[in-house]
């Protein structure tokens, strides 16, 4: 399954019926060592673009926006257990944030693919 990207540096990847969401490698590098993250509760509903989570380093804090609309179907236990390092070590793998059950899969197609995102980052 291909991974899609937002301008706010979130990634989304469909696994079965749920979308796995996290922050991109670029975002994790910009942020520096993560010291805290706050994930939404299971069952919470978000519209695309809404504040969904917060991730912090010692000197900055960033909102994480819902890349697509839907219901939170699960959150990463490692992050909930304060293993923040995982976000820096593997932002687009084990450091995923939440799983979203999408309410409108069409939103996904409108997001950037890997090449487009790489191009977007290059322009920043």
């Amino acid at each position: 399954m291909t991974t899609r990207y937002t301008k706010d540096h979130e990634w989304v990847r469909m696994e079965g019926d749920v979308a796995v969401v996290g922050i991109t490698t670029y975002a994790a590098e910009q942020l520096g060592d993560v010291v805290y993250a706050e994930l939404p509760a299971e069952g919470a509903t978000f519209a695309q673009g809404a504040d969904m989570a917060v991730v912090e380093s010692a000197k900055t804090a960033s909102d994480v926006y819902a890349p697509i609309s839907g219901v939170i179907a699960g959150a990463n236990d490692a992050i909930k257990n304060e293993k923040w390092e995982i976000i820096n070590h593997s932002p687009q793998g084990e450091g995923w944030f939440v799983k979203i059950r999408p309410s409108n899969k069409a939103e996904l197609d409108a997001l950037m693919d890997e090449a487009a995102y790489a191009n977007y980052v290059k322009g920043l």
Binding site: Y36, E56, S57, A58, K59, T60, A61, D63
Partner: protein, 447 residues
């Protein structure tokens, strides 16, 4: 001018290096009409002698507490501050330092902050403390707003014993945020009444002990009731010396404890600057307002201290910050820590006991004056008394006799309808002679 080192020669040389002719060329972006050509209409510069004289003349128009028999509290207390305290806070390295944003060259300020946070936590029996707020009243307002963030509820209930200025300050801040503030009618001994107003929309009940009438209260049941309703129990105070003798709010289940620290290390100063103490439970630290100092290591593995958890603060979180506070009470907080270090546990307990014994003597002496009734039953160093007639008139008449006898409740809260009620306190500063003077003056005034 003695504070300005540049000479006219310097100024000319500097302008020429910059490549401009006159200083006005540097103000080129100022709209023409707004750049003043003349001096503003105020006196011109003066030497130390003249300024000293002017300020001394103004100071002489006041009657310092120390020249009277002084029994006024009501949120600010006259205690002895050891000479060492003032010397240390006037050291250049503390006095003229900035907020410790460069920790490698600010360990003095930072370690003192860490010691302050530890002392405050011990004193109030709470898990964590921040690095201070402006004063007790603003700390209390911040506590109310924090409770609303933690519980995601919008109603704040104040007991009838909270200092009226604290309620007014919190009301101003909370209502701006769209929170509802309910202040129960003033009551000398009814902190527990807040429990009757608990409901599913109450973020916090705020109680004060010792309260504005001096009454001390067991907060345990209030905390249980609040927690049962999913609300927080916020305890506030104006006299922190009391916790050398009475059970601290943390031991009675308080979720946030906030109040005035002025009594330790800080002079009366006509109301400010003071130092707000603010402590809470560990689980709430990310919702706590203000700066906080934490321990860490440096690149060589040596222990050091830094400002931490700053992502809650305005300079990073901007419109999502827990509070807009930036500058706090640094030097007053240092004074607090130095004084508390000089006292230690033994000194604080002794100081608190002396205050309490003095207050008992004052209560007994005033209670024997005809027509006067002591209303506060359980107290630390402050009591409410009922006088025949208008308490404000009694206070003014006493002042004419060299006795500052306290504050009329009607001055703090005219709407309470307690016109015959006077709040008075005693500290370690009061002598037997002071108490005798108060009794004699009161008898004369009431005749």
């Amino acid at each position: 001018m003695r504070y300005l080192p540049l000479t006219n020669t310097d100024r000319q040389q500097m302008l020429s290096l910059i490549g401009t002719k006159s200083i006005d060329d540097l103000f080129v972006d100022v709209p023409k009409h707004a750049l003043l050509k003349d001096l503003v209409d105020l006196p011109k510069k003066q030497g130390e002698i003249e300024v000293h004289r002017h300020m001394a003349r103004l100071a002489e128009k006041n009657t310092p507490a120390g020249r009277t028999a002084f029994f006024l509290g009501g949120g600010a207390y006259r205690h002895h501050v050891p000479a060492t305290v003032d010397h240390i806070i006037q050291r250049s390295e503390f006095l003229t330092a900035y907020t410790p944003y460069q920790p490698e060259i600010a360990q003095g300020t930072l370690q003192a902050l860490y010691e302050f946070q530890s002392q405050v936590a011990q004193l109030l029996d709470m898990e964590v403390s921040n690095a201070s707020m402006y004063d007790g009243s603003t700390a209390c307002a911040e506590a109310a707003m924090m409770a609303a963030r933690v519980t995601k509820r919008k109603k704040i209930i104040f007991s009838g014993g909270v200092h009226p200025h604290y309620i007014d300050t919190a009301r101003t801040a909370c209502e701006a945020l769209g929170l509802e503030v309910v202040a129960l009618p003033a009551a000398i001994d009814d902190e527990a009444a807040v429990s009757k107003h608990l409901s599913a929309d109450v973020a916090a009940v705020i109680v004060q002990s010792p309260n504005v009438f001096g009454t001390i209260t067991d907060l345990t049941k209030i905390a249980e009731a609040a927690h049962g309703a999913g609300s927080l129990m916020v305890a506030t105070f104006t006299e922190c010396v009391s916790f050398g003798l009475i059970e601290p709010p943390g031991a009675m289940g308080a979720d946030i404890v906030c109040g005035e620290g002025q009594s330790i290390g800080n002079a009366l100063n006509f109301g400010g600057p003071y130092v707000g103490l603010f402590a809470t439970k560990e689980k709430f630290i990310r919702q706590m307002p203000g700066r906080v100092c934490g321990e860490t290591l440096d690149a060589d593995g040596k222990r050091g201290f830094v400002l931490t958890l700053s992502t809650r603060e305005q300079h990073i979180r901007r419109e999502k910050a827990t509070s807009n506070i930036c500058t706090n009470s640094g030097l007053c907080q240092l004074a607090w820590t130095v004084h508390m270090t000089l006292l230690g546990e033994q000194g604080l307990r002794q100081l608190a006991t002396l205050n309490h014994e003095r207050a008992i003597e004052l209560a007994d002496a005033l209670g024997r004056v005809k027509g006067v009734e002591v209303l506060t039953k359980r107290f630390f160093n402050e009591i409410a008394i009922r006088v025949p007639g208008d308490a404000q008139k009694v206070v003014d008449a006493l002042a004419e006799k060299g006795v500052i006898g306290g504050v009329a409740m009607s001055r703090l809260n005219p709407k309470a309808g307690m016109y015959d009620l006077l709040i008075t306190c005693a500290t370690e500063m009061n002598t037997d002679k002071d108490i005798a003077a108060y009794v004699a003056a009161l008898k004369a005034v009431l005749q």
